[in-house]
């Protein structure tokens, strides 16, 4: 029996061009962790064009930094990439210290590296766990959150907070690592190791997971560089660029670690690069804890560091010192500088301008996931609607950082 003519006409190609449907996905969508809108042009379920709209979480970070003293910027930096707040703290501290022309004491350098890497693991676990949940692997999500919880306990023991740590200070850190830090670290890493093995078994060769990730959201090396991608997104394309290796800061040049790279530049490679980076970060932490020296945790300079509390309450000089630093702020010499660190999502840079007063004249942050979001539209063309979720998950857009 021949099909009615109407049905056969439906499949002709020239018809499809007229059937482009416009669809707005978001800004509040249950499958995207972050407030973001996709203005889609669809041919059936295939994406013809995707315009990504950001800015829903804009809180005027850069403007607010200009209102207070240099030290008062630290709490704001916690809220940039809130999945790895310590790295933002460290990045800002290093930028200002570069302008001040000082270096923090050895013990503080080690502590900063240790906590940065613990933070990086937390960030990667959040990203990977959520990515797994979004493709239906709920178990892995819970495992990752469980592992992150051990690390959050560790962060809490050191900084006093789980997320809003405000742990760095100009010239050092606010609190020293506790005496029993390594006793807390070993069981936490043991649990983490076991959980990573389980997650690896559950996902790496999982048919459903691979079908959703392999070959999706692909980007070529040329495009990745043109879009200024860094971090796991660029390394998944096979470019071994890592700020920790290319321009070592703190003590990274003394530590041994590898930079995992992918080859395809698709979501699966991004996932595997992050997964491998967790292992590398664990290696870094273990080395740094082994070599952790004793000593002061903040520079001994009354123009930069607050005096100890005994001196504030016990002597007039200490009290005046404290008052001047709090009310007027640290006098950063006039000038400007750019300093980059390797954030969990890529190169996290601070461009700061000082006019010599106690307040920042301009603080600009180079947010790594902003560039990933710029490239997202192109990555999605030709893919299906469900691929938005996995690709968006692998870019690991953090609203606080992308929208600032």
């Amino acid at each position: 029996m021949a099909l009615p003519k109407r049905w056969t006409q439906k499949t002709e190609l020239e018809d499809t061009a007229e059937e482009i449907m416009e669809l707005q996905m978001g800004p509040s969508h249950p499958a995207t962790h972050g407030t973001i809108k996709f203005n889609l042009k669809l041919d059936g379920e295939r994406i013809v064009d995707c315009d990504v709209e950001i800015g829903y979480l804009h809180r005027a970070f850069e403007k607010m930094c200009e209102q207070g003293t240099w030290t008062q910027v630290f709490p704001y930096t916690d809220r940039l990439n809130y999945a790895s707040p310590v790295i933002n703290n460290v990045a800002f501290a290093l930028a200002v210290e570069k302008l001040l022309g000082i270096e923090c004491p050895e013990r503080a350098k080690y502590a900063r590296v240790i906590m940065s890497e613990v933070s990086r693991i937390c960030d990667h676990l959040t990203c990977l766990g959520m990515a797994a949940v979004e493709v239906g692997a709920q178990t892995v999500g819970f495992y990752a959150i469980e592992a992150r919880e051990f690390l959050y306990d560790l962060i809490e023991a050191v900084t006093g907070a789980r997320v809003t740590v405000t742990w760095c200070r100009l010239g050092g850190i606010a609190r020293d690592l506790p005496e029993d830090f390594s006793d807390r670290l070993i069981p936490a890493f043991k649990h983490l190791d076991a959980i990573l093995k389980d997650c690896d078994k559950l996902l790496s060769r999982n048919r459903v997971f691979r079908d959703r990730m392999v070959g999706v959201g692909k980007i070529s090396v040329q495009d990745a560089l043109s879009y200024s991608l860094t971090g796991p997104l660029l390394r998944a394309c096979g470019v071994p660029y890592d700020v920790r290796k290319a321009h070592p800061y703190l003590i990274y040049d003394r530590l041994e670690f590898d930079v995992p790279v992918g080859s395809e530049g698709d979501n699966f490679d991004r996932f595997m690069v992050r997964f491998a980076e967790i292992r590398e970060s664990m290696k870094i932490v273990e080395q740094a804890v082994r070599e952790l020296p004793q000593g002061p945790i903040i520079v001994d300079d009354p123009r930069i560091a607050l005096p100890p509390k005994e001196r504030v309450y016990g002597s007039i000089e200490g009290l005046m010192n404290h008052f001047k630093l709090i009310m007027e702020g640290v006098k950063v010499p006039p000038g400007e500088t750019y300093h980059a660190v390797e954030g969990a999502n890529g190169e996290l840079g601070f461009y700061i301008v000082s006019d010599g007063s106690g307040r920042p004249y301009r603080v600009r942050v180079r947010p790594p996931c902003f560039f990933g979001m710029a490239a997202l539209g192109q990555m999605l063309i030709g893919h299906m609607i469900p691929d938005i979720i996995t690709t968006f998950g692998m870019i690991n857009m953090i609203g606080g950082e992308c929208d600032r």
Binding site: E22, S228, R366, Q378, I381
Partner: protein
């Protein structure tokens, strides 16, 4: 690197120096794009990666704005900061979108925050703020306590994709 720039491009630079360990050059906005292209292709510089674009508002100074570019070279591992002074009365520079795709969003943000126009940008509209936002928030004369007029609610069904209506399609 700064010596090399002074030797080979000295006549085209307004200033070149090393500040706090960073290489900084100041260039004219008319020459900027040509120089960026030359520096990208120069085998001794290979500045092939656009790290960042932003601006600084020097209120009460002339020229008032500085557009600040950060460039990086993957093969040679060095950075360069390029500053382009811009007058308040006519704040524009040429767009870098023909050279780097990342310039698209960075320039949109710079336009949004400082009101600096990028000539030749295919789709210069606000990115972090909404379309009906009045003013440019990172300018120094924008008060931090300023309130914005309340925007009429629009029905997304009646006026779909108002943002991207005139956008050139990539597909």
């Amino acid at each position: 690197m700064i010596e090399y720039l002074k030797q080979h491009y000295g006549s085209e630079l307004l200033a070149a120096e090393v500040k706090v360990g960073d290489n900084v050059v100041v260039v004219d906005r008319e020459r900027a794009v040509t120089l960026f292209r030359k520096w990208r292709d120069d085998p001794n510089l290979k500045l092939d990666f656009l790290t960042d674009i932003t601006a600084v508002d020097w209120l009460n100074r002339k020229p008032r704005f500085e557009v600040v570019y950060h460039l990086y070279s993957f093969p040679l591992k060095h950075r360069l900061r390029v500053k382009v002074p811009v007058e308040e009365s006519d704040p524009w520079v040429y767009s870098l979108t023909p050279l780097w795709k990342a310039a698209d969003w960075l320039e949109r943000e710079c336009y949004d925050m400082f009101g600096i126009r990028f000539e030749g940008h295919p789709d210069l509209r606000r990115i972090l703020m909404y379309d009906s936002f009045v003013g440019h928030p990172l300018r120094k004369d924008y008060p931090v306590t300023k309130r914005q007029p309340i925007v009429e609610e629009t029905d997304p069904i009646v006026r779909p994709l108002s943002h991207s209506r005139n956008r050139p399609s990539r597909g």
